[in-house]
Symmetry: C2
Subunit: 409 residues, 2 copies
């Protein structure tokens, strides 16, 4: 039998999905599993999207332009102008989800063996994309104690080598919920200018910022047009994950034209997904206000419940709909599997994403889990009840970790 590739061997299993078989087994045993592991919102997709699909007069379901329908790109340019991002349709490539946009960005700007600096913890699937393209991720650790703020510039400069090609941020952050301040963005701008790097910014959670915060896109930063590549998607904005429609946006024409060659090779993004997404551009502002209020409520439920648990540390996230939480446990992979295999409370349990998968540095994240607060109020409370009980009985619990540490040694 021929061997598979090293990248095929080395690609990590998704921490978000790898425990699915254990969840399925739990459900077969009659246990209700609350899915806080995955950012699949329960928020209704605006009806205007499916309406457009239903009413589309499609006799032949054709390819679109490789960059996406021009009419859709025009609407997107309009959409972004409200965020102080000035674009033309020719700055935008519509992609099969934000995932493909990120793949195109990496392919276009980085060769095999090139290095990409990413503040960790980061969206776990960046590992899969990087591994598939031979891109080497150089992590810089953001600390839970500082709420996952951007590490100081000196930390970036320590890991820059001649092979460094760019910096990738998720803004606001998955899994941290951290929203970079304008000062932090300007600092990043200085680094990429000084070292002639690309700045990739995954902004798929742009619309989810709380506490009166405002989101600034890297595309709005002055003097960085040649450096910045923005990734976005309709998945979270409109609770339309299954549309698989994202965008790569850049004002750097060399990058755009090269990315277009990869876009042409795969012909086009989904026609139905584009019809839906184009219609969704007409979603009224009130929708976002309602959705944001709902997430805000959920966020505070999760944060308040967590803060009331012994030995649990969670910064209050300013954006997205995730919390990266430190738990009094020995090993987050073991704990998350145990929740599904060996634990239940009132015939219920909770599925979480182990923190280890969100770090590139070995050994980090063993006491952390990611929670997506994408369920309704009642289910969130039930999830928190499960977690609270679980932390009392989990065999690998380490409440009073200091004391345990002393005892163990």
């Amino acid at each position: 039998m021929p061997n598979i590739s090293k990248r095929g061997e080395n690609a990590p299993a998704s921490p978000i999905r790898k425990l699915v078989p254990f969840a399925e087994a739990a459900k077969k045993r009659g246990v209700t599993v609350y899915h806080l592991n995955i950012g699949q919102p329960d928020i209704l997709t605006p009806e205007i999207g499916m309406k457009a699909v239903r009413e589309a007069d499609i006799k032949v379901l054709e390819y679109s332009h490789s960059a996406g329908f021009e009419s859709y790109r025009r609407k997107l340019a309009d959409f972004y102008s409200q965020y102080n991002i000035q674009l033309t349709p020719n700055d935008i490539i519509v992609t099969n989800g934000g995932s493909e946009a990120l793949m195109f960005a990496m392919m276009t700007c980085m060769d095999n063996g090139d290095e990409l600096i990413v503040p960790e913890p980061f969206y776990a699937n960046y590992n899969g994309f990087a591994e598939s393209l031979g891109v080497v991720i150089r992590p810089i650790t953001a600390k839970i104690e500082t709420g996952f703020a951007l590490p100081p510039v000196s930390e970036f400069e320590k890991v820059i080598t001649p092979k460094t090609r760019g910096i990738l941020i998720c803004h606001p952050g998955n899994p941290t919920g951290y929203l970079y301040s304008n000062e932090e963005l300007l600092a990043l701008g200085e680094i990429v200018k000084k070292h002639n790097l690309f700045l990739f910014s995954d902004e798929v959670y742009r619309d989810f910022v709380y506490d009166g915060c405002e989101h600034t896109s890297v595309l709005s930063l002055p003097g960085l047009d040649e450096h910045t590549i923005m990734i976005d998607s309709v998945s979270k904005r409109y609770s339309a994950c299954g549309a698989r429609i994202g965008v790569l946006v850049t004002k750097n024409k060399t990058v755009y034209n090269a990315a277009m060659k990869f876009a042409q090779a795969r012909l086009s993004p989904s026609t139905l997904g584009q019809i839906m997404s184009e219609a969704l551009c007409e979603t009224p502002k009130s929708y976002f206000e309602e959705v944001k209020a709902e997430y805000d409520k959920r966020r505070m439920i999760v944060v308040n419940r967590l803060k009331a648990m012994d030995g649990v540390l969670t910064p209050t996230p300013n954006g997205a709909f995730y919390a990266m939480v430190q738990l009094p446990i020995d090993d987050s992979d073991r704990f998350c599997q145990w929740l599904l295999e060996d634990f239940e409370y009132n015939k219920q349990t909770v599925m979480l994403a182990p923190g280890t998968g969100f770090y590139a540095t070995d050994g980090l994240g063993k006491q952390e889990v990611r929670m997506a607060y994408v369920l309704n109020e009642m289910d969130l409370h039930a999830s928190m009840d499960c977690l609270e009980q679980a932390l009392k009985v989990y065999p690998g619990r380490t409440v009073n970790a200091e004391m345990q540490h002393t005892i163990n040694n």
Copy 2:
């Protein structure tokens, strides 16, 4: 400004789409352009597909399983059983078009610098996929004089090196229309077993075979389960290119499991596309009979018209809906651009794909073009009228090439 990657620089522009700006300019001048350059059929998509989408009760457009809906994979397994391909749903990964399936296959089986043998001329976008992943294509030339039959085994063995990881065929062939015989497939099977290689087979044109020929999938070949990976798509089968739904199919579990890691990283294929494609599995056999009869008619129009033109050589294709045609011209890139820029006949012209983009060997394909016979009878005749006239007046024409050659020297 930071430099883009070498792969971004080196990726070839699609020969199928790179002349689009010239076509757009011609249309602006009021010239009708017949698109024989691209395999976008005018055949109606079976109504059953859009009906399912319209009737789907979607409140939240969610991700699907990363391998695609299990219900769809079950129907696919049923579908393939009629072709003597025995599968379970767990042998199938649903992808964003055949393009993504091929990317996953390459990532999973090949590392940067690994070599893939591909009979040329081949589907031009293989170049883009290979370039993006650092895969090196080693072409073996199939000759127009033999109708693009599989080159002899000795030709394959000449280019096998320690870095060779597989052989990729398109069966039936785009751009050649060539359908491999069972003897040819068995010969390929012997090579991959002897040299421990993978055999990738792009079978997206499986349903289009003529003259009573039958298609044999590589998945039906005995003793090759660990070697074979099949790529397929709904794009051509149901004239549903815009659905962007394909599949990667393999019985090799190591390959499957590694490919699933890449599939999980990009979350899922299009939900709407899958709903449509699942419904399309119910398309009655009569649809295929009608469509095949229609293509067969078109095929013979093109072949007969071409055979009647001076200095034109075209094998009669047995499958797909393309013809790779040798024309009495100096340079196919120049000719195809000239057709759009400088030629018109009754305010009409024809767009073709230059042959050079379908070869990896420099200099080949300069006298060849690919034609997709995807237009109706009347438009095809009009296209052939244009071509016939064009060949009479094209400044770089080489009818009586032998004589011209003598004169020029």
